[in-house]
Symmetry: none
Subunit: 227 residues, 4 copies
Amino acid sequence: MPMDDEMNAETGTAPESRSALRRKRERELRLRMVLNAAETLFARQGYHQTGMEEIADMAEVSTGSVYFYFKNKEDLLINLMKEIGYQLRELLGTELNKTDLSLDSLRNIAVAFLEDFCARHPEKIAIFFRESVGQSREVEEVRKEVFLRLVSDIKEALLRIADRLDRRFVSDAAPEVIAVCIVGIYDRLACHYLLWRDHPKNIMDAADEVIGFMLGGVEKLLGNTEQ
Amino acid sequence: MPMDDEMNAETGTAPESRSALRRKRERELRLRMVLNAAETLFARQGYHQTGMEEIADMAEVSTGSVYFYFKNKEDLLINLMKEIGYQLRELLGTELNKTDLSLDSLRNIAVAFLEDFCARHPEKIAIFFRESVGQSREVEEVRKEVFLRLVSDIKEALLRIADRLDRRFVSDAAPEVIAVCIVGIYDRLACHYLLWRDHPKNIMDAADEVIGFMLGGVEKLLGNTEQ
Amino acid sequence: MPMDDEMNAETGTAPESRSALRRKRERELRLRMVLNAAETLFARQGYHQTGMEEIADMAEVSTGSVYFYFKNKEDLLINLMKEIGYQLRELLGTELNKTDLSLDSLRNIAVAFLEDFCARHPEKIAIFFRESVGQSREVEEVRKEVFLRLVSDIKEALLRIADRLDRRFVSDAAPEVIAVCIVGIYDRLACHYLLWRDHPKNIMDAADEVIGFMLGGVEKLLGNTEQ
Amino acid sequence: MPMDDEMNAETGTAPESRSALRRKRERELRLRMVLNAAETLFARQGYHQTGMEEIADMAEVSTGSVYFYFKNKEDLLINLMKEIGYQLRELLGTELNKTDLSLDSLRNIAVAFLEDFCARHPEKIAIFFRESVGQSREVEEVRKEVFLRLVSDIKEALLRIADRLDRRFVSDAAPEVIAVCIVGIYDRLACHYLLWRDHPKNIMDAADEVIGFMLGGVEKLLGNTEQ
DNA sequence: CATGAATGAGTCTTCATTCAT
DNA sequence: CATGAATGAAGACTCATTCAT
């Protein structure tokens, strides 16, 4: 059984004493507090304007402890990015599984992003679309990977939708380009309406138009039903 | 004669002696060299990874001179951003003036951006879409302003095109939202295909699909001809 | 036992383990070494001619450590000033407590200042009467406070002496003015004879005359015995 | 005639053409403006907080011109100090010449210092008693010289007064010590009441007490009339 | 002589990271 | 494992001074 294997591999001992369990729980709690503190502070004051000690303070641990959980400041940011990237992909997958793979799926995904993600986690948006940009070669590399995966997911979804509708894209490149465009739209939308918020219009008010725009674009690149 | 002196004093610029002219020319040359050096280095190694001395060296001036032309490192970046923003708007305006305000204008703008700007000035793209992001409150403020103006330009163009075609957008908000989407598409497109270039596909190959996508989106948000 | 833990938590300082005590001792030792190094170097080469690294070197700590103990260079100077000011006041208080509050107290104070303080701590004199003058608004503010307190102390002493002798000053302002004069005399005396020492006369040789001068002045401003 | 000699030595030519005269006048005017600007700014913002360019601006000349008139920043300060020192000595001499060399001369000098100098030229006080302190070895050297001369002047005055009164000081050292004390009193008085002015009492209100104190001190160190 | 742009050595200060306890 | 004091390399910025025009 894989479960047994994993347990053995992790602990080496079978019974998992109560104190060991508690220690493990505390360890994870601490790691989470550090991550949350970093997220909050990076989003609020910016990555460079936030010091490790500040993060440690807010997480109620010592500076040294932060370095126990994360290799360095960059690693902290990268973990945050990966986590947010994962959550975004999950949101995407969840929405796709709920639908019938019609073009309306795209609407659902957009609504989920705008209503569930942006509105509820503006700090994550700030991290992902602002603070993690242009900080270092390593961070940029991770950014690329995360975006690539996101784009790939959307591309796959588009292909499956097209398949389901029995339609073909005007070119092989089209699905990916559309995916890149969609990600770009989300990106700027969030920056524009959410982060530069002194704009009178709320991000939600733009939802209908954005969805219309995207659907229009996708339709255009979908040729007619193959006979 | 004292009268002459006074007259010169009034003119302010006096007779513009040849040496004075040359001095002015040199001054502007130096400023340009600093700006160019900063652009190159920021794009190549990143804003934070570039030191003022490095910039001075490449510009063949002293550290002090850099500070004679620019208040500080941030000011250097801001000047770069504003310049690039201005060039982008100009490109936009030029293309619009060349066309008949049909929907094809959007195609021309896209082609100009992708072929003329991205291909020729990848460093400017790196500065504008990567290095200037999330560096400080002040920089972010300028970024916002530049983007807002760009969005506003595109929005105006869309309205004029709609007017010319005698069509109306589905909502008042639509033009601006479309503008934001278009900027977002350009942004991510440049990052994706130009900056993360180990991707086999060249940015130019995506042009057709992108233009199709955008046109499809715009069409969708343009109601039918008013009867 | 958890109870013990709680009790310790309440105490705040816990059992004060031996290692913790030593750590504290070392911390204070380090702070003192930095302060001493700064005092020596400021007095020897001047405040502006002394770099933070130099201080760190002499104190045998790193540059960063200096900033761990003191906010900045100014803070270092201010700490020095306050310390010296405190020592001067203490010297004053000690002498007054030893005497019978006759006019001879003034003699004792003068002797203590000249013999104990000036002779033993010329660097402190240099800091207090030379290096801390006119360095910045903040430093000047602290200087003022320290001097004000010194003047106030002397004024109080004068009032108590007058009370003890059953005599009154010629005016309400007199005690303070005298205090200011006395501080001024000490100030210049120290600068003149101690810091500009190529003068053949030693500061101690001036003691008798100074004391005579001061006593004469005080007497003059003390009206005759109230009948 | 010494005047002729000097003129010849200076110019080499006898007639002194009108334009040469004007040039000389302008030169001196400029020098004065620089000196005044420096005095104002040093007193207002402090020596180190004032830049050469600032001084040049206020004097309405170029940075380079300042260096034509003065070797460097230090030289500017030194000139200011010497000028003020000279004015103080002159004030002293003038007062002494006006009087009959009685002890009242000391009163007159004090009044002149407090009323004429302090009240009218607080910036000079700030320069002389604050800004020029502890700035560099060179400045300190000049400070010493100026003070020494001042002390010497007062000492001579005291001796002449004693002589006139047919009295002797208790010791040979006394006159100098008294002089040092008097200078110290003036020094601190000016700093205390003039520069740290949030004190409710004005410097003039302290005059009577100060004079009383000084006279009392001097009297004390003057033995009785030689029989 | 006046100008003011150019210089560049010098300094303070920050902060991510380490490590002895 | 947690702690937090110590480290020191790195970097932005200043400003007195010079000098070609």
